[in-house]
């Protein structure tokens, strides 16, 4: 059997990829604004709320997040303004990003791909990266968003190339290899490259692009400490089994990233516990 020939139809060249990314719905304008101005806190709440009012789906999803036990609000939040008052702009930005992504990439039929597991992993990584940022006095907002978005390319592949991605998953299962390697074998590209293409299209800020690009292989010291955080958080969250995928594998953790993070053993043990505790609070809505 000629495997290579059989998989030719599954190859995703730059043109096919660009065409599919072109066809993706745009992120809601309000979320684009928030992401592109991730380093700014002086967002006009009135304008934000007015833009949100045109998007009932996004508002409903965001309020569901805001009222989860994770934020400790216990169902008291009924509007975006109120969410900003009670939770602060940074938190609302995180909530809106998560809610918008869930709308742009709705569950579809790609056999073997579990959206719920994907979101559990993304949210776990976001939480772990944020806790790491807190320990290291880095920007927690960047860390959370970068953690949430690091695997975004996979959502593009699954929703735009569902049949090909089924082949990826079958190949992974057959050979018990990393999903990343199965992507390269079958598609000729991987979720990192695709994620970057999407990040360009959606004009994500540089810190997020670095984290997407470097979450498997962060460049040596200095490039972006957020990419290092996400690399380490990604490994931790796979090892904590938060997505609970049967044949999951912990990906290699970069030695450079590990040294960049530089926590002692006790701090790591605390981080594992806190990640589990924080994740537990949000897992009910994922």
């Amino acid at each position: 059997m000629n495997l290579a020939a059989e998989h030719d139809a599954d190859r995703i060249g730059p043109d096919r990829l660009a065409e599919q990314i072109e066809q993706l719905p745009a992120l809601p304008e309000v979320v684009m604004d928030l992401l592109q101005n991730i380093d700014r806190e002086d967002v006009d709440i009135g304008v934000l709320a007015r833009k949100m009012s045109h998007d009932q789906t996004l508002t409903a999803k965001a309020l569901r997040f805001a009222n989860s036990p994770f934020y400790g609000t216990q169902g008291k939040i009924s509007s975006i303004q109120q969410a900003i008052t009670l939770l602060g702009m940074k938190t609302v930005r995180q909530i809106l990003t998560a809610a918008a992504l869930a709308s742009v990439f709705p569950d579809n039929r790609c056999k073997g791909f579990e959206f719920r597991a994907f979101w559990r992993h993304a949210m776990g990584t976001a939480i772990c990266a944020r806790l790491l940022a807190r320990m290291l006095h880095l920007n927690q907002d960047f860390a959370f968003t970068a953690g949430l978005l690091h695997d975004i390319g996979r959502l593009v592949l699954v929703t735009r190339f569902p049949h090909s991605y089924e082949q990826v998953i079958a190949y992974r299962d057959e050979h018990d290899i990393f999903l990343l390697d199965a992507e390269r074998s079958i598609l000729g590209t991987d979720h990192v490259a695709v994620g970057l293409a999407l990040a360009e299209r959606w004009r994500f800020p540089e810190v997020i692009r670095h984290a997407i690009a470097g979450h498997h292989t962060p460049e040596p010291l200095g490039s972006s400490s957020i990419a290092s955080l996400v690399n380490v958080a990604n490994g931790i969250v796979h090892a904590l089994d938060l997505a609970a995928v049967d044949n999951d594998l912990v990906p290699p953790v970069s030695l450079d990233a590990w040294r960049n993070v530089g926590l002692d053993d006790a701090a790591y043990l605390r981080l594992f516990r806190e990640t589990e505790v924080e994740f537990e609070k949000i897992s009910s809505i994922l």
């Binding site: 807190r134 090892a239 605390r270």
Partner: protein, 109 residues
């Protein structure tokens, strides 16, 4: 310590319940230490600080149950790390070793 953790809302919290973990504020500072027994006045104070939920110790595991759980957790961990090991170019072995200590019940200092 072989405790079972349970997340409860502040409304469900009762005097006599014991915190399973330190309660931290938004900056990561310890407000109440792990193992602290809740009193009516601590619960009222937490309400004033707008704390909404707590992780409490919901019971103890027997040594036997604990052993079983640890064996299961470590076996799962080995499965997840089945493609790692031996390489000196990455930190996976370091993470693996720390995670094993965590699963074997080592408490954060």
């Amino acid at each position: 310590m072989p405790i079972i953790r349970k997340q409860v809302s502040l409304d469900e919290a009762q005097p006599g319940m014991v915190l399973s973990d330190a309660l931290l504020d938004a900056h990561g500072n310890v407000m109440l230490a792990a193992g602290m027994e809740l009193s009516a006045s601590t619960i009222a104070a937490l309400r004033r600080h707008q704390i909404e939920s707590l992780s409490i110790a919901a019971g103890m595991l027997s040594e036997e149950e604990l052993e079983g759980r640890r064996r299961r957790d470590v076996a799962r961990l080995e499965h997840l790390f089945r493609k790692q090991g031996g390489g000196d170019t990455d930190a996976s072995d370091l993470l693996h070793a720390l995670m094993r200590r965590y699963r074997l019940g080592e408490e954060p200092a």
